[in-house]
């Protein structure tokens, strides 16, 4: 099947408006006869469910947690971008569009990104109307902060809990519709397959996680909004339950999966402390505004620190290697996420890591204490302040800015970051890849949509800070509710979809068989054993830097783990009760397939772009020596994979990317 992105014709500025003027609409009386299933109720799914219900469709929404408010969107800290230009600093729709395409290393679809920038301002209006308590200045107007990789201040925020507040906004909109009976909410339910009738998505099979019952649900269209697949690495900043299952099941039923290898590894996370580690915790990127990143220059000092003979504060300035400032004098500690992460890995691989595991670098605020303290002393007219006084004054300022993060760090690591530098290391955080969708956010299966982090469309090979929340809400509030109408306009006379068809029966049987297999297998190893093993291969061979040989090995190794899993996995308990081990088993089974496709995708992409760094594709000399080298001539395309029975046999379809409104440039942060 040839890929058709269905991007409307005409100048980029007019595409979305023209499109909306021409699409088919469903009249309000008919919407009452149309059902839509939304799977996942984070920012994208929650906002979509609420809006579709407001429009008059009957919505059935599904979440594996006990409430939509618990989706992992809730953990986003920093903020949400919008081209409001409230600061008068020259921001515009075009500039937000440009920054996003450039930040994505020119691997996203222009028309989608432009639309995203276009609706971004509406999101802020909508959220304020819903009662989202964004930060304000003393004049009572909305405040902004700036984020990595851009030159304007366009990020709206609610303390360090922006994701929480936006999600609670969408949740409140959902609650209003649940109360009206327009959304039927299925908490503690997990989608285990999609059902196609006559080639169209017409329902899902879901498991009630309390009773274990397998249920059939039908609808005229299905929307998958189940987030990213970072947990394929076992350790990531994702929630424990975050998974690829819904996205992977639809892939196996015909939805192409795009750019699986594009993963964002976030530079500022709390390092791993031992093998028991269950997840990683992110520290907001904003810390890099005031912290300086370093490792010791000399190996003796590294050893002395690891063995506890020296403290980081014992090292003088010239015994330290501020490697980001050394390598990237122009951007210093504020280089984009992918660059900062790789540089940390480079130092640790060379043996300079500063903790027991050898995987940590310092993030030091001493210079910020000094700078802010001196400034404060001037403001308060303190003459000849002592060193201690300056430090104290400076710490107060830093505390006001990042107090909650410092406290979080101290709770986890049990060290006081005001007295000793923080230790940080990169961790898997976000996946730019995902289910392929066209301009309408429809997958390659008619009637099956994919929105939010679960799709691939807007961030190219690297996502900028504060853009995930923007995309989730843009898709759910302002894009999907239009585009889905165009499709559903053909369904006004269809009537209710029966669940008594052979398609539902077959899909249900397949799901049940797999569950029975798990609880009866009585193997010798726990689900986590396999998940950790997979995670290690992913991290070592498909992590921050990749090469052909490693990727080929990864494919073989993952396949072997998968075969062992199906022989040896042990799942206690039964199928007809709450059984968390059984839930995990199903999810890990899917990760074990996705992992192989991931490695295959990374192998095919013989260029470095964004979060995907191929060691073979680096600048060999000149001022950019050693930096990532993109190859626009051969790789300016989206890789969309079609499932063919085994992940390794997937067939590649290419969507060529055209850049009509932006000139392609090499990113330079030197």
């Amino acid at each position: 099947m040839a890929l058709d992105s269905r991007v409307p014709k005409g100048p980029i500025k007019d595409k979305w408006t023209d499109y909306k003027n021409k699409i088919n609409l469903v009249n309000p009386a008919n919407k009452r006869h149309i059902d839509v299933i939304v799977v996942g109720t984070g920012l994208a799914g929650g906002s979509a469910a609420a809006t579709l219900a407001e429009l008059g469709y009957n919505v059935k929404a599904f979440a594996y947690q006990d409430s939509p408010r618990r989706a992992h969107s809730i953990a986003a800290q920093g903020g949400i971008n919008a081209a409001k230009n409230y600061q008068g600093d020259g921001d515009s729709t075009y500039r937000l569009f440009y920054d996003t395409v450039k930040g994505g290393d020119y691997r996203s679809r222009e028309a989608n990104v432009y639309r995203l920038a276009e609706v971004s301002a509406n999101i802020i209006d909508q959220c304020v109307a819903q009662g989202v308590p964004f930060a304000r200045d003393y004049g009572g107007l909305l405040d902004n902060r700036s984020f990595g990789g851009v030159l304007v201040s366009r990020t709206f925020y609610a303390k360090g809990q922006t994701g929480q507040q936006l999600l609670l906004g969408a949740y409140s909109a959902m609650n209003r519709q649940i109360a009206r009976g327009k959304i039927e909410m299925f908490n503690r339910h997990e989608m285990l397959d999609v059902v196609k009738v006559d080639g169209k998505a017409r329902g899902i099979i879901a498991r009630n996680l309390i009773t274990g019952e397998i249920e059939r649900h039908s609808a005229h269209a299905v929307v998958v909004a189940t987030g990213g697949y970072g947990n394929v690495y076992f350790l990531s900043t994702n929630a424990m339950g975050s998974n690829v299952t819904a996205a992977w099941k639809i892939h196996k039923k015909g939805a192409y999966f795009a750019n699986p290898c594009y993963t964002q590894i976030h530079p500022t996370c709390i390092p791993r402390s031992g093998d028991y580690q269950s997840k990683l915790t992110l520290m907001s990127e904003s810390l890099r505004n005031d912290g300086r990143i370093w490792v010791p220059k000399n190996m003796e000092d590294v050893m002395a620190i690891r063995e506890g003979r020296k403290k980081p504060t014992d090292l003088s300035e010239d015994e330290r290697d501020y490697y980001l400032e050394r390598r990237y004098p122009a951007f210093g500690n504020l280089v984009p996420r992918d660059v900062a992460s790789r540089a940390a890995k480079e130092r640790c691989d060379a043996g300079y890591g500063v903790n027991a595991t050898g995987e940590a670098v310092y993030l030091d605020f001493a210079a910020a204490f000094d700078r802010y303290g001196t400034e404060q002393a001037k403001i308060h007219n303190i003459t000849n302040p002592s060193k201690e006084k300056i430090k104290e004054l400076g710490q107060e300022i830093v505390k006001a800015k990042y107090g909650n993060l410092f406290q979080m760090y101290e709770k986890i690591i049990d060290q006081n970051p005001y007295e000793t530098p923080m230790m940080i290391y990169p961790a898997v955080h976000y996946t730019m890849g995902g289910v392929w969708v066209d301009y309408n956010l429809m997958t390659t299966v008619p009637g099956l949509y994919c929105i939010g982090e679960a799709n691939f469309s807007d961030h190219g090979a690297n996502r900028l800070g504060a853009s995930a929340l923007m995309q989730g809400l843009a898709d759910g509030y302002f894009v999907l509710p239009y585009t889905i109408g165009d499709y559903l306009a053909d369904d006004i006379r269809t009537g209710p979809i029966s669940t008594d068809s052979k398609e539902f029966e077959e899909a249900e049987k397949e799901v049940k068989d797999k569950i029975e297999f798990f609880v009866n297998n009585k193997g010798t190893k726990s689900v986590d054993y396999f998940h950790k093993k997979l995670g290690k291969v992913m991290w070592d061979k498909c992590g921050m830097s990749r090469n052909a040989q490693g990727l080929k090995e990864a494919m073989v190794e993952i396949k072997a783990i998968r075969e062992e899993f199906w022989k040896e996995v042990s799942v206690p308990g039964s199928s007809n009760e709450m059984n968390p081990e059984l839930e995990k088993a199903g999810r890990v089974a899917d990760f074990l397939e996705l992992g192989e496709l991931f490695a295959k995708d990374a192998l095919v992409r013989e260029e470095s772009c964004g979060g995907h760094f191929r060691e073979e594709s680096a600048e060999l000399d000149g001022p950019q020596k050693g930096e990532a080298k993109r190859n626009d001539k051969d790789f300016a395309f989206v890789s969309a994979w079609e499932f063919k029975g085994e992940p390794g046999d997937a067939v590649l379809h290419k969507e060529e990317l055209e850049f009509k409104d932006i000139e392609l440039k090499q990113r330079s942060y030197k």
Binding site: D66, D125, G274, P580
Partner: protein, 246 residues
Amino acid sequence: MNLTLKIWRQKDSSSKGQMVDYKVTDISEHMSFLEMMDVLNEQLVNTGEEPVAFDHDCREGICGMCSMYINGEAHGPDRGITTCQLHMRMFKDGDTITIEPFRAAAFPVIKDLVVDRTSFERIQQAGGFISVNTSGNTQDANSIPISKIAADEAMDAATCIGCGACVATCKNSSAMLFVGAKVSQYALLPQGRVEATERVQNMVAQMDLEGFGNCTNTGACEVECPKGISLDNIARMNRELMKASV
């Protein structure tokens, strides 16, 4: 360190539960409490026993899913944190730790340490929203200035994570802190004032219907709340209710 755990085991909502003893060894002080539970569960799986079911997801103190009553305290010993943020360095070698679910008539046990908190959902559905549709032509976000003080106070109330520790801690199983936080957030903002009367009446009526107890001002909820939601929110809700009834 080596520990004895006394854990509530209950097959499902209709079965009777009981405390069961387990031993775990070689626990590192750097582990989180839930990682210690992972160790126990791995041990149980490897011996073919059913692991202990407990709710958790984000493991960073924001989703509100984790909900254990540890040594007689919601979210355990330590303040301003959730169970997932509790670390083993709060315990010592040889300790016996009691672990129970959050208990309240309105939070029936589903299995082991997992409870059903959908009563909170129904309270939110009764009025925890502002009636505004998504349209794309809502008025500009800056058209109504809101004082920084009110916005910050609304934000403080809005940080409630809906965990239910306040209810589990309260001797009356009252949900006033949770409901007060939501009522306050909207009452403090001009956008929320429009429906303020109906909202507080509907949410409180639903709260009573769900079987949560009365508030007798003991203040235990504020102490155990991981997000530091203040008792002022209960006072504000009471004022809103009074206004509504005159």
